[in-house]
Symmetry: C2
Subunit: 298 residues, 2 copies
């Protein structure tokens, strides 16, 4: 099928590369320059130190997007979504899959006119090396779930998925996104502020105390009924990615904007609306915002 | 008068140097090596980039201390005090001045048999350059107060104090120590974990939010009646030392043990005994302990 992928970051490039084998993929980038680079060089993927490709995809700047693909993957950061949402409302006619972290963007989705709206949670590790090359570090899965409509397009995608890039269809979009949110809310800010790898949060007994407390606050605010399930999932991610640096760690390290608003910002808002206290979430939200502010002032 | 100074760290060296002009000073060090170095080289002080000295003091290892000085200055870290306290109980006959941070050591002082017990709070900036040289960075004052007995020895010390090394006699030891404790509890852990200079805590609007909340927790646990006075003092220290790195920042940076137990550890204990919640104090206590643990494991 015709697939349009919006966003030329690591996730946009990763999806474009893998889906281009079975589908006609167009990728829409923020800049004309990146689109030109992709059209000239094709799309490259580095995996296990070996460069693969090029894959042929059509690239164009986002303003040229007409919205006529059967399936649209929105692969921008959550903080980039507000500037895109009216465009999506006006033009998107096919099925649409949102890959953002956090939960705050869910409130915008029901404003879209299209019949099939899906959300996803990406468990691949990927780094953009340049405008047309992405490095696939940790091979994982893409979890997807229906927000509105039937799951037909997801099923088609999943059935044709290449090996090494599987899609899993989850029954409950809310549970799926909240599970990811909890992982991001605990691992990301702690590793970014303490400047440690993911595994250190459970291996260092002092950091583990904070880890537990931050989880407790999230669980309380999100009113998780099966807390243990979420905690086990969080522990599992920490152990599986023990030697990795989290995305927020890397964002802070290289002075890039983080996703803290989508993650802790969302939880802080939720806490306020429920009149609940969230001292650690408040603390780490302001630690990360302060780090971003240091860079702006520098 | 005869003065014995216990401790060969930056504060011990600084006091020995400045008091040696008017008094007969003996300094007691942890190691024989440092005592030998001081006896061979004399004591040196670097101020404004200029080396001064040598001052002549007698140096000996602590096991040689007989306790027969009229005035004893205890200039070790609070965490070093437990191993020293029985020695002090057995031998100290003169007046004694304790210069430790925190408040946890106060409970031990009433066990001492000596008549005059004083506590002090040092507002000088000093760095030990080697075993017999100290650098005097920020010239401040030494605040002192009576814990037990009359203030005669403090008065004598204060009257004979050299210019550039003044002593101030404070009326209330508790207020004096708590004021310093609040400053240390807020500035030290925040600067050490956020890796910023003291001034950044009030200049960065996000860090200032945390600064305020951590102060609020301290104020609540310490049941400060005149909160504003303590907050203004804290702000004043932050502004006066805006370009400095805190002692805990430096301790963490070079992998040295911090004073976190004397500072946040004390507050955490107090919170527990009063059945009060202290989520930020708990958090930063464990952040610092975790940093210390990282070094031990490395």
């Amino acid at each position: 099928m015709k697939i349009g992928i919006i966003g030329g970051g690591s996730i946009g490039l990763l999806f474009s590369y893998h889906l281009s084998g079975q589908h006609e993929v167009s990728i829409y980038t923020r800049t004309q320059e990146q689109a030109d680079e992709i059209n000239e060089n094709g799309l490259h993927l580095v995996k296990g130190g070996i460069e693969q490709g090029p894959a042929r995809v059509n690239a164009a700047p986002i303003q040229d997007w007409s919205g006529n693909e059967e399936f649209i993957v929105v692969a921008v950061k959550q903080y980039q979504l507000p500037s895109l949402i009216s465009n999506l409302k006006d033009k998107a006619r096919g099925s649409i899959l949102f890959l953002q972290n956090g939960y705050g963007h869910i409130k915008w989705l029901s404003e879209l006119a299209t019949n099939k709206i899906y959300v996803g949670s990406v468990e691949h590790g990927a780094v953009r090396l340049n405008g047309f090359t992405v490095q696939h570090n940790g091979v994982g899965v893409t979890r997807t779930a229906v927000f509105k409509g039937d799951p037909d397009t997801l099923r088609e995608l999943s059935n044709k998925a290449p090996s090494g890039f599987p899609f899993i269809l989850e029954p409950d979009y809310k549970e799926m996104l909240i599970k990811k949110l909890v992982v991001n809310a605990v691992i990301n800010p702690l590793t970014a502020i303490l400047k440690v790898k993911n595994g250190e949060l459970v291996q260092n007994p002092f950091y583990f105390k904070i880890f537990e407390q931050l989880f407790e606050e999230c669980a309380c605010i999100l009113e998780l009924t099966d807390k243990e399930q979420y905690f086990n999932n969080l522990m599992g991610v920490c152990e599986k990615t023990a030697n990795n640096h989290s995305s927020m760690y890397k964002d802070i390290e290289i002075g890039r904007q983080t996703e803290v608003d989508a993650i802790l910002g969302y939880l802080l808002e939720l806490a306020r609306s429920k009149n609940k206290k969230a001292p650690l979430i408040h603390n780490y939200y302001h630690c990360i915002k302060g780090k971003e502010h240091e860079r702006e002032g520098a």
